[in-house]
């Protein structure tokens, strides 16, 4: 493989990993707080659709991004209310929301754009950081990316700091590990969990926007294709640590990038196998490659105040 092709591979791995990195970070925060948020798939799809419609209708991708975040908020509130206030089964409600989001976005897409339109939608612009962008061979191929990638990385860095060095990080951890102790110390478990799910919604919205108006500048029906589930698998693979989750997301991104890279190298691997590869890796990951699993103790369990 030539250096040029290698640089393109790294660049596209990064680009394809972005939705996973964003959604995975959101999911991690939500799971740390004790809510297994299956609905990030639906939230991403809603976000991708709202961003596309917003950018298309106003001609301004920034307004599309804003509309995207606003559109996902009610979905996140619904998931929060179901899993915290109504204490419903988090997995079942998540799947229900995903079915609803797939149906609703497909329906609305057909209504607004007509069946299978390939209309280009104004997208977010690319940005290349100073110095890094000037590195020969690698500069442009790796670092010239949609600015949302850099904004997203900044948010993720912020999350890392908050989780590690602030009270908020400790409170989140307690809500997922020892909710009763947190409650006794006077913090509302429900409120922490609400905020965790809403943050996951925010990150999924950005992930969805990246898919539609960041990466390919169009919306296609069901375009997330299980990326949300890959993000959840990444959290498990990363043993509920931020670093591990991000590494897993990058791995899945690279596996997806292979699908476009190997054919250009003349390596004949069935396309279907390459499309399947990220899911296969995710299955191996959750199935023990990661070792015994150490999830937050109260993950997935609604909290009952006594």
């Amino acid at each position: 493989m030539s250096w040029e092709l290698f640089a393109v591979f790294i660049g596209s791995s990064l680009r394809l990993a972005v939705p996973l990195l964003l959604a995975g970070t959101g999911e991690l925060v939500s799971e740390r707080a004790g809510v297994l948020n299956m609905s990030i798939e639906g939230m991403m799809l809603t976000g991708a659709f709202a961003a596309a419609v917003g950018a298309w209708a106003t001609g301004n991708p920034l307004i599309g991004l804003l509309i995207c975040v606003l559109a996902v908020l009610p979905v996140a509130l619904l998931q929060s209310a179901l899993s915290n206030t109504l204490r419903a089964n988090q997995i079942v409600t998540g799947i229900g929301i995903n079915i609803l989001a797939l149906g609703a976005t497909t329906l609305a897409y057909r209504e607004i754009f007509g069946a299978r339109s390939r209309e280009q939608i104004p997208g977010l612009s690319k940005w290349s950081p100073p110095w890094l962008g000037d590195i020969p061979i690698f500069g442009q191929a790796v670092f010239e990316q949609v600015w949302l990638l850099y904004a997203g990385l900044a948010v993720i860095a912020l999350v890392a700091l908050v989780l590690r060095y602030t009270t908020i990080g400790i409170v989140l951890h307690a809500a997922g590990a020892e909710p009763r102790a947190l409650d006794k110390s006077g913090v509302s478990v429900s409120r922490v969990r609400y905020l965790g799910v809403i943050f996951a919604g925010f990150m999924s919205a950005l992930a969805g926007a990246f898919l539609s108006i960041g990466d390919i500048h169009t919306f296609t029906e069901g375009m997330t294709r299980g990326a949300g589930y890959l993000a959840i698998a990444a959290v498990i693979f990363g043993k509920w640590t931020l670093g591990g989750t991000l590494l897993a997301c990058l791995l899945f991104g690279a596996a997806t990038a292979l699908q476009f890279q190997l054919p250009t190298l003349g390596i004949d691997v069935p396309n279907a196998f390459l499309i399947m590869l990220p899911y296969l890796l995710a299955l191996l990951a959750v199935g023990g490659l990661a070792g015994r699993q150490t999830s937050p103790r109260a993950l997935g369990e609604p909290y009952f105040r006594r």
């Binding site: 229900g96 079915i99 609703a104």
Partner: protein
């Protein structure tokens, strides 16, 4: 006389347990939203409803097609209920159907079963489908026992893998794709031979109800009896309520997890086999067409009752047929059916709060 009236009312209220009432209410609410959406789409509601009824009950063909579809949903749904007794959530119906379809096609086309005595020609592919589904379900079971992997994640990922595996099979001439005679050869398998097709109950293609119906009926009865009247059903439930207490009582958690997930997989694979051998005859991309998720919703809606699965499977079977006809005749996208299903799941899951703390 008043005694009799009181007795009837008592019996009726007992039948209308809150769980049944809530299921019915959830369906009604979702259906109302559906009608509202049709209205919002600017389609004549009466046209849409006429198209819906025509697509479900309009012709003998429509009725038989709806029932055949309901059989698939019922099998996947019963699998869901069985696993759910052990407090497991099997979301893998989609992949299990796909694996069943692949296995049934492979054996029907290349297993030299066409010359076998009548009956065996389709029984072998059907058995292969069930075995393929069992294997797929068991993987989730093994991961659950050995690594503690949440079965929801593993069955979902297994579904994605199976769906792409099917795509691989029909894309690759070395696997199940029919011989390429020109560049226009479609990426699909050959049509299975006549002896391997499931016999129709009436022998008449205008009412194509196949022997999947009696097969599913027998399985339904067995499942209902095993779950409610046998020691095994009780053990499954015990594990679901409290695995630690159950293991103190000598019930192996691992064994129950394996059996329930493998059974759910077998039923999903069988459903895929019935779809291929009974209706589609050709394996192509998109074979499972969301039926695994429909079956899952049917299982959820039933709230643990096998009879409930049958009722909701019939509901969804006819809903799908009506939805397809609504799209063709009245121009209402079938995605509407998904919206309705999503709403049913969410409403039901949310409603458990109002029924006390047991789900």
């Amino acid at each position: 006389m008043t005694d009799l009236a009181a007795d009837i009312i008592r019996r009726l209220t007992r039948a209308l347990r809150p769980s049944v009432a809530i299921s019915v209410a959830a369906v009604l609410v979702a259906a109302l939203v559906g009608v509202g959406l049709i209205f919002a789409l600017g389609v004549s509601v009466s046209d849409a409803i006429a198209a819906f009824i025509d697509g479900t009950l309009g012709t003998p063909y429509a009725i038989a097609a709806s029932i055949n579809r309901s059989i698939v949903f019922a099998l996947v749904g019963i699998g869901f209920v069985i696993a759910n007794r052990a407090n497991l959530v099997n979301v893998g119906g989609e992949g299990q159907i796909a694996m069943g379809g692949i296995a049934a096609t492979a054996v029907a086309l290349y297993g030299h079963v066409g010359d076998l005595p009548a009956g065996l020609a389709f029984l072998f592919p059907l058995a292969a489908a069930a075995i393929a589904g069992t294997v797929w379900g068991s993987i989730a079971g093994v991961l659950k026992i050995k690594a503690g992997t949440n079965e929801v994640i593993s069955t979902l990922l297994l579904s994605f893998i199976a769906v792409w595996l099917l795509y691989w099979c029909v894309q690759s001439p070395q696997l199940l794709r029919k011989p390429m005679t020109s560049s226009a050869t479609l990426p699909e398998s050959l049509e299975i031979s006549d002896p391997t097709k499931l016999p129709l109950l009436t022998g008449d293609y205008s009412f194509p109800l196949h022997i999947g119906l009696p097969v599913a009926a027998v399985i339904t009865i067995i499942a209902a009896v095993v779950l409610t009247r046998t020691l095994f059903g009780l053990q499954l439930r015990a594990v679901g309520f409290n695995p630690i207490a159950a293991s103190r009582a000598g019930i192996s958690y691992s064994r129950m997890v394996m059996i329930s997930l493998a059974t759910a997989g077998a039923l999903g694979g069988l459903a895929g086999g019935l779809m291929l051998l009974g209706e589609q005859y050709v394996l192509k991309d998109g074979f499972s067409s969301g039926y695994g998720f429909d079956g899952l919703v049917a299982g959820l809606l039933a709230r643990g009752s096998v009879v409930g699965v049958v009722a909701s499977a019939l509901l969804f079977g006819f809903l799908r047929s009506g939805g397809i006809n609504m799209e063709m005749v009245a121009g209402v996208p079938t995605a509407l059916v998904m919206v309705i299903q999503g709403l049913i799941v969410i409403t039901l899951a949310g409603a458990t709060f109002f029924m006390g703390r047991q789900a």
